[in-house]
């Protein structure tokens, strides 16, 4: 199949090449100020045609010989025009100036920020640094992930929850990549912050649908985050001090123009406030995180470049000496870019990724540590081939070796707990993909591709057969090197775009995704101790088929954008828990606590956005439904998934009052999550027990919140600039429910009451950021 597609592409391009003499322009587009390569920068050719840079700033375009005017542009940078007479293959490297260099003289035009209506990619959301910078956030800590959750179809799991729900998917169905390395837990401090330090981020893209074939392994979304390379022009330091955290960023050239480094670190000091408390139940506690991003890039020659990037983060939480929990991610990525020729670009990546946590219990006679981890070794090779101006082909392989340590219990000698190690689980995930971006005509473009994925469960280890009640009926023993089971899946991907006129287009896509790593959570809220479990002989790969259609319209010369997308997703092999499941199980097969079935999700998303000008922002609204049908739950009928929310609204507004002041506000509203409440009660052994009639049949109270922010640019000196950022989270003090519990009333034990706990009312904050 693949070779045929490739052949068709070759024939198509060859056919054209005979007609006229053609040559290729290739090169790299960078920002002038920092020397950072630009992702997705646009090259437009007068008289039609164009291309965009890949994730390393490389572009290649093949044109007929003769005179051309080339226009190079990228968001937030000045557009560059170039007249050029093409007669042989040529390398043109371009550096684009910052818009701010001539701010005041030039009114911001908008040509550079205009979105492309003709790319087939849909369901893609991108953030600009301006949006990231100005949207008010909790405790003033800028957070790209929190801003993304204000876009349609992407939902926050709620206060104090780390997860994110995309188009009805569960929190574990998002592929989160940091410089290609999967991040298994993207939260700090119980979800109040994400693991991504906005200062170190160059580009952030979320795919809600129509994922290109180079991505795979999760059902709902891809969050692709790329770190800055570091300034290769000048040495620079920037940083910030806020109420609960401080950060510092250092970058600079190793060789000017050629290589650079970047180190960014953050540390929160919330626990220092804990010390201020006179209450001994609080001042003994620990609660902080730190993280470090580092990157190094080195040009080996004109055609070769090396990148080494890494992330290390750790959270620590402790209740006196009684209880401790620490968790963290480590990732490392080594990449080698090689330009074979002006039409063929190659990238090889070696990736390491690790997530682990340790729980320590030290109460009287019980002393134990519980350790768990997931670790990946990952190799990727991708070739990008630009055979003609109408085709852009990617071909790649990916191989990942996963090791999961579900739980190791270690104890002190005097402890009454016995040490135990659950068997490590090994698996090998492979993928082969091909995708072509084909400009069929001026109006019609297509991205089509195919991903072949395989997942092999490897020994050594014991696997189980279970009966319909979850009882183990048979234990199968495997030795090291044995293949327990291999799942093969073919994932077709197709996206089409049809340009109706110069300001509007229609897009459609179909994508199949599969997922072999599943997150088993021991509670209704997400926690760092949720377990990653690989597919087994019983847990089958989750499969999703998503169909979507979208309409895109630019209004008022492109200053305003309207996007409407609708989707339908059908899901197979979805996982939910048996009634009364014990997912903390440390001895039995986890499968005996689970049930499997199918799911469906559908919805419509509106986004109305004003991108440019003094006043900018957006309005997003999602109407959606997500359900499961699993035998053994709610009498085998369809029921609402936990993350089902009917309405979801976000309004984001930013206003630049003057050169000094920027104001911002956002308001969000959503229908409460589907939740299980008791329908009645009874007495067992003299205590009240609650009676349940179905799963997720009730709703949490509706959630809404207003946040306000303001940024004050302080006086600029030669190289020194600084600002003060103020924010007020939950400005009108809405008490949004974090949990709802049921208990006998304290005042009248003969009555039962429902009690809601909210985490936040108003939270004001101030932080100071500087740069030199």
């Amino acid at each position: 199949m693949k070779s045929k597609l490739l052949l068709i592409a070759v024939l198509l391009t060859a056919g054209k090449a005979i007609a006229q003499q053609k040559h290729t322009i290739s090169g790299t587009i960078k920002s002038k100020a920092k020397g950072e390569t630009l992702i997705g920068a646009t090259v437009r050719v007068s008289g039609g045609g164009g291309t965009t840079t890949n994730e390393y700033g490389f572009y290649s375009i093949t044109l007929t010989d003769g005179k051309h005017q080339l226009e190079y542009s990228s968001m937030g940078l000045q557009t560059n025009h170039l007249d050029f007479f093409l007669r042989k293959d040529t390398v043109i490297n371009i550096s684009l100036e910052d818009e701010s260099v001539s701010l005041g003289a030039v009114t911001i035009t908008g040509t550079s920020t205009k979105r492309s209506l003709s790319t087939p990619q849909m369901g893609l959301e991108k953030l600009t640094t301006k949006e990231m910078k100005n949207v008010p956030v909790l405790l003033g800590e800028r957070d790209a992930i929190k801003v993304i959750q204000l876009l349609p179809g992407i939902k926050s799991a709620g206060d104090g929850n780390a997860g994110m729900y995309v188009r009805g998917g569960a929190a574990d169905q998002n592929l989160i990549l940091l410089d290609e390395a999967p991040v298994y837990n993207a939260s700090h401090l119980l979800g109040f912050f994400s693991t991504f330090n906005s200062d170190a981020i160059k580009d952030i893209a979320v795919y809600k649908g129509g994922m290109p074939a180079q991505y795979g392994g999760r059902l709902s979304s891809v969050l692709d985050i790329k770190m800055n390379d570091g300034n290769n022009q000048d040495f620079g330091v920037s940083g910030g001090i806020g109420l609960i955290s401080a950060k510092l960023n250092v970058e600079g050239p190793i060789q000017k123009d050629k290589s650079s480094f970047l180190i960014t670190g953050r540390r929160t000091y919330a626990d220092m406030f804990l010390k201020l408390s006179s209450d001994s139940s609080i001042n003994n506690n620990t609660l902080y995180f730190y993280d470090i991003n580092a990157k190094l890039n080195y040009e080996l020659g004109e055609k070769d470049k090396l990148y080494l990037s890494g992330y290390f983060g750790k959270d620590k939480l402790g209740v006196g000496d009684l209880f401790g929990l620490q968790w963290g991610n480590t990732t490392a990525t080594l990449r080698w870019n090689h330009i074979f020729n002006n039409k063929l670009f190659s990238n090889t990546s070696l990736i390491y990724s690790n997530y682990d946590y340790t729980i320590s219990i030290n109460s009287g006679s019980v002393n134990a540590d519980i350790y768990s981890k997931i670790r990946d070794y990952n190799l990727k090779e991708e070739l990008q081939w630009y055979p003609s101006s109408s085709h852009n082909i990617r071909f790649g392989i990916n191989s990942i070796y996963h090791t999961i340590t579900p739980g190791q219990v270690t104890t002190s000698e005097t402890s009454q707990i016995n040490a135990r190690t659950l068997e490590d689980r090994y698996s090998w995930e492979n993928a082969l993909y091909l995708t072509d971006n084909w400009k069929v005509s001026d109006k019609l473009s297509a991205t089509y591709g195919l991903r072949l994925s395989s997942f092999s469960i490897l020994g050594k280890g014991d696997f189980f057969n279970i009966d319909k009640d979850g009882k183990i009926v048979d234990t199968l023993h495997y030795q090291s090197g044995d293949f327990v089971k291999t799942y093969l899946n073919l994932e077709p991907r197709l996206a089409l775009s049809y340009k109706l006129n110069s300001t509007s287009s229609l897009k459609a896509s179909y994508v199949r995704n599969t997922q072999n790593l599943h997150l088993i959570s021991n509670s209704t809220t997400s926690s760092p101790t949720d377990k990653w479990v690989a597919s087994t002989n019983i847990i089958k790969p989750e499969i999703s088929d998503q169909y979507s259609i979208g309409y895109y319209k630019d209004l008022f010369g492109g200053d305003y954008e309207l996007t409407v997308e609708t989707y339908y997703k059908s899901l197979q092999n979805q996982i939910d828990y048996r009634d009364g499941a014990n997912v903390n199980t440390v001895s039995n097969a986890i499968e005996s606590e689970l049930l499997f079935g199918k799911g469906r999700a559908y919805g419509i998303e509106w986004l109305f956005k004003k991108r440019v000008g003094k006043f900018s922002g957006w309005l997003s609204y999602t109407l959606s439904k997500t359900e499961r049908q699993i035998d053994g739950i709610n009498n085998n009928k369809w029921y609402n998934a936990r993350q089902d929310r009917t309405h979801d609204i976000a309004i984001v507004a930013m206003y630049q009052v003057s050169k000094k002041w920027t104001l911002s506000a956002n308001w969000i509203y959503y229908t409460g999550d589907a939740v299980t409440y008791p329908s009645g009660k009874y007495q067992i052994d003299g205590q009240t027990v609650y009676y349940f009639t179905g799963r997720n049949t009730y709703r949490m109270p509706d959630y809404h919140r207003l946040d306000l922010g303001a940024t004050l640019q302080l006086k600029k000196r030669k190289r020194w600039s600084s600002e003060l950022a103020f924010s007020l989270y939950n400005a009108y003090g809405r008490e949004n429910a974090y949990t709802i519990t049921f208990e006998d009333s304290k005042e009248d034990p003969n009555k039962t009451v429902a009690k809601q706990t909210a985490l936040f009312k108003f939270i004001p904050s101030i932080s100071y950021n500087f740069k030199f």
Partner: protein, 269 residues
Amino acid sequence: MRNSFIYTILGAALLLGTACEKEIDLNLNGNDNKLVIDAVLTDIKGDCVVKLSRTKDFSADNSFVGVSGAKVQIYHNGDTTLLTETATGVYVAPELSGSSGNTYGLLVTLDGERYTATSYMPSKVPMDSLSIVEEDLFGDMTKVANVSFRDPAGETNYYRFQQYIRGTKVKRYYVRNDDLTNGNDINARLYILGEDDDDHEYDINSGDEITVEMLNIDAAVYKYFYSLSSSATGENESATPANPVSNISGNAVGYFSAQTVERKTIKVP
């Protein structure tokens, strides 16, 4: 463990001066009026009691409203004992006791419907001692009841404890198995977590009388109380709030346990 985690989040939020609790009204309905069976047989005469009631609306009071007129039988190897109703919905057999190693059956017949269950009375693990220890719990020195016993290595054991402080039964479920503690000397501490600071009902002070009952239960009853304590006590933090996994067949909720019991009482020093 899970609870301390939640408390820490809440603690952190409280510290920021932001967390707030309030009672809310929810429209909860449809209790199905199901039969509730709360049935116990122990190795001590006089302990055997079966209580029948029905599920109630959430907004109803917590009083026990018994179901009369049922035929309640406990059987073992062809011996059947008919229980007598001494109060509305309370059925007893004062002379009946069980012994370890036997399986007992329960048959409840009501309005033509039959409800059945069986339970195995496991071997009795002796309680070595009951003591009071002082422990630093979230910054406060707290007196905690401590039960010492030796878990037998050769078998899987399931335990349940009931605690009485100054004669009042503590409304907590204490269940454990020996999954991670098989064959060890165990100090089981009966913590009372989740109480408000101004709530002193369960404070243990010098001079108080503390009674603890140690029960040996079978696997199904353990599963019942484990799933009850993790998913039906109203603390909405488990994977799936749900009805506990019952060992009763028929359209009823509740459990039947054949269990051994040992009581010890001490005066807090």
